[in-house]
Symmetry: C2
Subunit: 429 residues, 2 copies
């Protein structure tokens, strides 16, 4: 069996994204993603997906050249390849990634986000070549379905007038009633029983009211609130106190490990994060300070599925919970998330996924949430198939773009509606 | 491809062991090991090896029954099987395992030592079925050879007179000159350039003298001393001070995490352990107290090769070094150790192996140390083959034994020479 990589295809695309609000602005009408295909000598094609912004794309192109001739079994060595690829530090922005909301951005994080797409693609190709599902390449599943949570957003009904965009049928959600209505739709359509509200958009009292409304409408359902570090320690503690009886956890109320540690010390509500613990290097300090009780893994920025398993092992060892973070992503990544989540023991929280917000995908068949769960595929590889026509269409959109949408910038998207808008300084409240 | 387990064979054996001394006594002339064979529906046979003492064997038999019908890909689920197997707590002895010198013994450790043999056997079978080396099933090797250290022992020339035993050609080593002579042989025969002396046998000053003699005979070579927790904190600090200029690390000078932390706080010599950190549950306290700087992994008691990778990830995350511990073992385990070690990034210390002490093996071809290294096999599975005649012979020895040797007991073996001998209380010095 020849498992050498003989071809790598990178296809940047723009996918429709609804006008979802967060503390930094609003989602663009189209979000860049990068679809990676890795082809072996015998024609097995593996799929991966990651951030599509220019700096990721540039690095992925350098990486792809080095992957030719590499064995798809050798996923540990992908990090060595990444080390060899010169990361142009200048493409990495300063402190906080404007669009990504994923904490301090470094060259290493960028590098790992690129590696992850190639790792997933290699595992998919290997699984297809061997006739084994990806989970079998990760030691085998320990559950047959993975639970996801409804990812609620404050949302406009439409993108600003005059902006080319796809229409969605979710309507607006700008107050407690709107949020509850959105949650109802999520439950009806997908069966989710956990709800996460992306906060940091309105003054904390309004968001507290929204979570209260959810608690009343869905008694006993796990609830989460995530303002992306928009609050001060004092505000975080106030919110935690007011919502202590209904929150499963509070996600990134304040920015940075010291602030999170202060909040954690003052509340019984568990704190979750995808901002202060986003790399292995950030774990030691955060765990020593007991700053977080749940780490939200994300195979994109932790460097792939095997690293996600290792992160889970680290968390398990230290008695810290683990769940899964999500950014705008398509079905390839949802399949990858489901495969790896199926192998992690003690996954006590439903995982996040933006997937329901993505009306467009590059697969021949969309993945399905049933009772809030995605069934773990036992088909070879990730168990998904690329729709080349769809891919070409979304790539055409990327080609036709003049550059404005090729780098996700939620603040810029907000300025279309509000020319005075600037990325708020933190803490915002 | 049918990867279901259709047969499991367990073969307890007794293998020749030289009269190696440690703080608890002396190795028996024959040591029990258990050889595990896992056979798939299509005839792929995987090999594993673990402790052969009665309590391990009893648990392995219960485990083997549950493995029938299990997919060899599903190694994560082996822990679930282990949970289902009722562990008779009464078979687990009290505090310190007399023979194993592996710290506090618990039902969980026993369980994991059994799981490890089945995990390795499953991975070997899977690799053979797929035509892939085990390292490829672990994400691929990141090095082509694994470095081992010479494992020096104080040693009698022969087992006590009148005791049935195999003869070895290593001679006695009971003083600095004898230890240096043994080290020379190790270097000549296998090319090792790191040396570890098993201590805790003679008063510390004699062992200090032996390490000093090694440092003079082999300048610049990494040296280690391991008294298996035989010393008090004060003695440990004294030894560390006197050998600070020549030790790569000091291994388990004192018993238990609090004592190790005290020693660590008082010396610049790194401390290694296979006694106070032997399970994931023991990591948090030891790392928080900075009690150990190098964890000596052992796939047998950490529960297999995947768990060994996860342990390495935990250590890497916390800036703690990792290397490999060894108890009396045969070629199957050396092959497994080499496969997993080849996949671990940042393996900065040569691994331990008893293998040179084992003149007997169950393989058709012995593994070879060249320049102190074992080449990582790229053959399917572990890359080793069972010699059924040898296996039958060593099993016959086990069958013929009246029970005295079926449970390793270094103190009992010592009483043959010294009827007054009792397991020394700790700290011994």
């Amino acid at each position: 069996m020849n498992l050498a990589v003989t071809d790598v295809r990178l296809t940047p695309i723009l996918v429709a994204d609804p006008p979802l609000l967060n503390t930094q602005g609003v989602h663009q009408p189209y979000t860049p993603r990068l679809i990676v295909e890795v082809v072996t000598a015998e024609g097995a094609t593996g799929l991966g997906e990651t951030y599509g912004d220019t700096k990721y794309l540039g690095l992925a192109r350098l990486f792809a050249d080095k992957l030719l001739g590499h064995q798809v079994t050798d996923v540990n060595a992908l990090f060595t390849i990444a080390d060899e690829v010169a990361v142009d530090q200048s493409v990495v922005s300063g402190q906080v990634d404007v669009g990504g909301l994923r904490g301090v951005q470094t060259a290493d994080k960028l590098r790992l986000s690129v590696v992850s797409a190639f790792e997933v693609a290699c595992l998919d190709a290997l699984g297809k070549a061997l006739g084994l599902p990806v989970h079998a390449l990760l030691g085998g599943k320990v559950r047959d379905a993975v639970e996801y949570s409804a990812y609620l957003f404050y949302k406009w009904a439409d993108h600003p007038e005059g902006v080319p965009a796809e229409k969605d049928d979710w309507g607006a959600a700008l107050d407690p009633a709107g949020v509850v209505e959105q949650a109802r739709k999520f439950k009806e359509r997908y069966g989710f029983t956990s709800f996460k509200l992306k906060g940091g958009v309105f003054p904390p009292d309004e968001e507290i009211a929204a979570v209260r409304a959810l608690a009343e409408a869905f008694p006993g359902h796990p609830l989460r609130l995530d303002p992306n570090g928009a609050w001060s320690v004092a505000t975080s503690l106030k919110v935690a106190k007011e919502l202590a009886d209904v929150l499963e956890y509070l996600e990134d109320p304040a920015l940075g490990t010291p602030a999170m540690a202060e909040v954690a010390a003052g509340t019984t509500v568990p704190l979750a994060t995808n901002m202060c613990v986003t790399t292995f290097a950030e774990i030691k300090e955060a765990f020593a300070k007991d700053a977080v009780q749940v780490v939200l893994s994300d195979h994109h920025y932790w460097g792939g599925l095997r690293n996600t398993q290792q992160l889970a092992a680290v968390c398990r060892t230290f008695g810290v919970g683990v769940s899964m973070h999500s950014n705008t992503h398509l079905g390839i990544s949802l399949a990858a998330m489901t495969q790896v989540a199926s192998t992690v023991p003690g996954l006590h929280h439903a995982c996040d996924s933006h997937y329901p917000w993505q009306s467009e995908d590059v697969l021949t068949e969309r993945l399905v949430f049933d009772g809030g769960r995605v069934t773990v595929s036992d088909a070879p590889g990730l168990g998904v198939e690329l729709d080349r026509e769809r891919l070409a269409l979304l790539h055409r959109r990327w080609l036709d773009d003049d550059g404005t949408l090729r780098d996700r910038d939620d603040a810029a998207a907000m300025r279309v509606a509000d020319p005075q808008w600037r990325t708020p300084s933190v803490p915002r409240w």
